[in-house]
């Protein structure tokens, strides 16, 4: 007759063993296994985590991704996305083998090169500038070459190019696209290199340029830095202030709790952006002030949630039990209440960052908060609004960037909520 000890099958797992097994499995495997458990919500969190990591990378090393610096005027104004800038190029006769402006340098005393330009356009000025800087550089070099062109102005493009074709000029400097339009009519002429900013155009302007010639794409990448700085800093400050206050208020439940709650509830009910506007208006435009203003906005959120959770946990039987065994308040807070509070705080933190970035962008859109010298998406949107009729790319891309960053953090918060709040799952 079989006895209970001879069971052929474990009827229930040993309570400790599966936990130990889980610990042995590496973190990566655990993450992958949890995918089966949590289903689509796992994807929510996973995708958003990847996005967040990507944005953080952009914020830390923007230079590695952005072709230009955000504040430099690297290109022509109002260039549409991926359009070729209409730069002034050197055009020479078929017999000449010069390609760059530099190639036209001659020995002092020799014949000065004559370069034709169109009357009344800025190309002449650009040519002068370039020639001068090349000349300065040549002075330091041993060959003794100098570049002192004679600039000849013409009324029409045709006349200019005709003169070159006829051999009356050494070279002509005209806009690239202009030349290419009529190039067929002047078969003897050859297009050389642009005379200005060649290195600048090497990267191209993926998303166009804004109204003063800055690269939109670079500003987008560099803007990540300020957005994330504001987002993280404001959230961390709010957390550091709100969580302890909430713990304290929830645990002590005295008159201080009531007073604090009244203040916090009033702040919480009031429109956040407007409060932030008021604070930055008073303190003045600077990054630090924006961080402070937004942090103040979110302290009540942390306070309320943490206080609520503290109150709930405080009523639990195991806290009573601990207290009856002589545990001190700090210990109870640390060992029972605080760990229960952490999941909610984590969720709020990630949603908080999303919100802080939105509020910060809103503030700079309104022209309050950040000094205008910083590359920021909100500021770019405000600038772009004036040119909505002509330069659609100035408002489309910065806003898209804001949305993607905020989306990443909100998705993470949303996914974490579903994972940490299992009561919403199907029984």
């Amino acid at each position: 007759m079989a006895t209970p000890q001879d069971t052929t099958q474990e009827s229930a797992p040993n309570t400790g063993s599966w936990r130990d097994e889980l610990e042995d499995v590496g973190f990566v495997r655990r993450v992958l296994i949890s995918r089966l458990w949590y289903g689509p919500d796992w994807w929510f969190v996973a995708i958003s985590a990847v996005m967040v990591a990507g944005f953080i990378t952009l914020a830390i090393i923007p230079g590695a991704f952005a072709p230009y610096r955000p504040d430099v005027l690297v290109g022509p104004r109002f260039l549409a996305p991926n359009a070729r800038p209409d730069l002034p190029v050197l055009v020479v006769g078929g017999s000449s083998n010069a390609t760059q402006l530099r190639d036209l340098a001659t020995l002092p005393g020799g014949e000065r090169p004559s370069i034709g330009v169109l009357q009344g356009v800025p190309t002449a000025g650009a040519l002068n500038q370039e020639a001068q800087s090349i000349d300065e550089q040549l002075k330091t070099e041993p060959e003794g070459l100098r570049l002192r062109p004679r600039i000849v102005r013409f009324d029409t493009l045709d006349a200019t190019l005709q003169a070159l074709q006829d051999g009356k000029l050494t070279a002509v400097v005209v806009r690239q696209l202009e030349f290419e339009q009529v190039a067929k009519q002047f078969p003897g002429l050859r297009e050389g290199s642009p005379i200005t900013g060649e290195t600048a155009t090497a990267g191209g302007f993926l998303l166009g340029t804004n109204e003063i010639g800055q690269d939109v794409f670079s500003r987008l990448i560099w803007g990540t830095r300020i957005a994330l700085i504001i987002g993280f800093s404001a959230s961390i400050v709010a957390l550091l202030l709100g969580v302890p206050l909430g713990l304290f208020a929830g645990y002590s439940s005295g008159p201080i709790d009531r007073l604090l709650s009244l203040v916090m509830d009033s702040m919480y009910a009031f429109p956040g952006l407007i409060l932030a506007i008021a604070i930055t208006a008073v303190l003045g435009p600077s990054v630090l002030n924006v961080i402070v203003a937004i942090a103040v906005l979110y302290i009540p959120t942390y306070y309320r949630i943490v206080r609520g959770q503290t109150l709930a946990v405080k009523e639990e039987l195991y806290v009573d039990a601990a207290r009856s065994l002589g545990a001190r308040s700090m210990e109870i807070l640390r060992r029972y209440i605080f760990p229960n509070v952490i999941p909610s705080v984590a969720i709020i933190f990630s949603v908080n960052i999303a919100d802080a970035i939105l509020t910060g962008a809103g503030l700079s859109f309104l022209g309050l908060g950040l000094p205008p010298t910083i590359a920021d998406w909100g500021i770019d949107l405000a600038r772009g609004q004036r040119f909505i009729q002509t330069a659609w790319w100035m408002i489309t891309f910065p806003g898209l960037a804001i949305m993607l960053v905020v989306l990443a953090f909100s998705m993470m918060g949303e996914g974490l909520t579903e994972i940490f709040n299992p009561k919403l799952r199907e029984r």
Partner: protein, 335 residues
């Protein structure tokens, strides 16, 4: 199916789909409920008794569904009914009383509206008439007329439970399934509740399926008892027969576990060994075999059948069933 059988469950299996796999909460269970009787359905938590109760009116939603079986209610197989036809049966012919009356009542609906809404859902009736019928019912159940417009949270636990019963009776249901109705009540209220059940059975000709884990309640008020374990029906019979002479080893262990007031200090309390099985991966054959003191090798290979051991006392155990491969002889029970 004979005429005195109100409900006949045949080979019912109910599955739950969970993330860990499919759980067969009720396997191949057959049960007859006789007209006018109070049948107690007992077992540990998780043995499938609530699932069985809900299956009687096909109340399962979401991950739970009936995998196989027949449900013969009053000569009709409910498995062939559409959802709309089932809806018409629920509340009107089969009623249910739930465990926790606080959460089972709509907090924003007045108590009397619960009943009048039910009446008007099933029968064409004016607001006034429905309300009047509700009032009469409440009076019969001992709820004072000045309380009928209250909200659930304004009533005591015992009163709420009476409201639950009246909901089940509002349309003169033939069968009332009471799912752990006294678990949330204290002992005195529970006693009153059981008295009320008996009275109502007499007066309205009710048939009651009383689902509970409390054997004492069953002993006091039921005519017959059915014992479930891990989704299987272990033993069914008259209360006196089963309690005086439990045949299934599980029932024996169960009854032995009840503390007896005549125990002395020297006696120790009986504890049944082992733990209830994990139903995702249940034990093979008879699900009780890992804990059974009388287990034989055949028990882990094949599941027995629910058969009469003597008269109307049915048992689901190899001890009492013949099989060519059995190693031990069959126990014969005298009548």
């Amino acid at each position: 199916m004979t005429d005195d059988t109100l409900y006949s469950v045949r080979n019912l299996s109910v599955d739950y789909t969970t993330r860990s796999g499919t759980v067969r909460a009720v396997e191949n269970v057959s049960l007859d409920i006789k007209r006018g009787e109070i049948l107690g359905l007992v077992g540990e938590s998780g043995c499938g008794k609530s699932t069985l109760g809900k299956a009687l009116m096909r109340l399962h939603t979401g991950p739970a569904h009936i995998a196989a079986g027949e449900l013969w209610f009053d000569g009709r197989d409910l498995m062939t009914y559409s959802e709309e036809e089932m809806r018409q049966i629920r509340g009107a012919e089969i009623g249910m009383v739930f465990q926790d009356p606080m959460t089972s009542l709509n907090p924003v609906q007045r108590v009397i509206d619960h009943i009048s809404e039910t009446i008007r859902t099933h029968e064409p009736s004016s607001e006034g008439m429905a309300r009047q019928r509700a009032e009469e019912l409440f009076e019969r159940l001992g709820i004072r007329s000045e309380r009928i417009d209250d909200y659930p949270h304004q009533m005591s636990g015992g009163m709420r439970q009476r409201v639950m019963i009246s909901l089940a009776l509002a349309l003169h249901a033939k069968l009332v399934v009471a799912d752990e109705p006294t678990t949330s009540l204290d002992v005195i209220v529970e006693a009153k509740f059981l008295d009320l059940l008996r009275e109502l059975r007499e007066e309205f000709g009710l048939t009651i399926l009383l689902i509970t884990h409390n054997i004492g309640v069953v002993a006091e008020v039921a005519d017959r008892v059915a014992v479930m374990y891990a989704g299987h029906m272990a033993e069914v019979g008259n209360v006196e027969d089963v309690f005086d002479r439990p045949l299934h080893p599980y029932t024996q262990g169960l009854l032995q576990s009840v503390p007896n007031i005549s125990l002395t200090e020297a006696d120790s309390l009986y504890r049944m060994g082992g733990e209830p099985p994990n139903l995702v991966n249940p034990p093979s054959g008879c699900r009780f075999h890992p804990r059974c003191p009388s287990a034989m090798p055949i028990c882990s290979r094949l599941a027995p059948h629910l058969q009469p051991a003597v008269d109307e006392h049915l048992v689901h155990c190899w001890l009492y069933e013949d099989h060519p491969e059995k190693e031990m002889p069959t126990v014969k029970v005298e009548g």
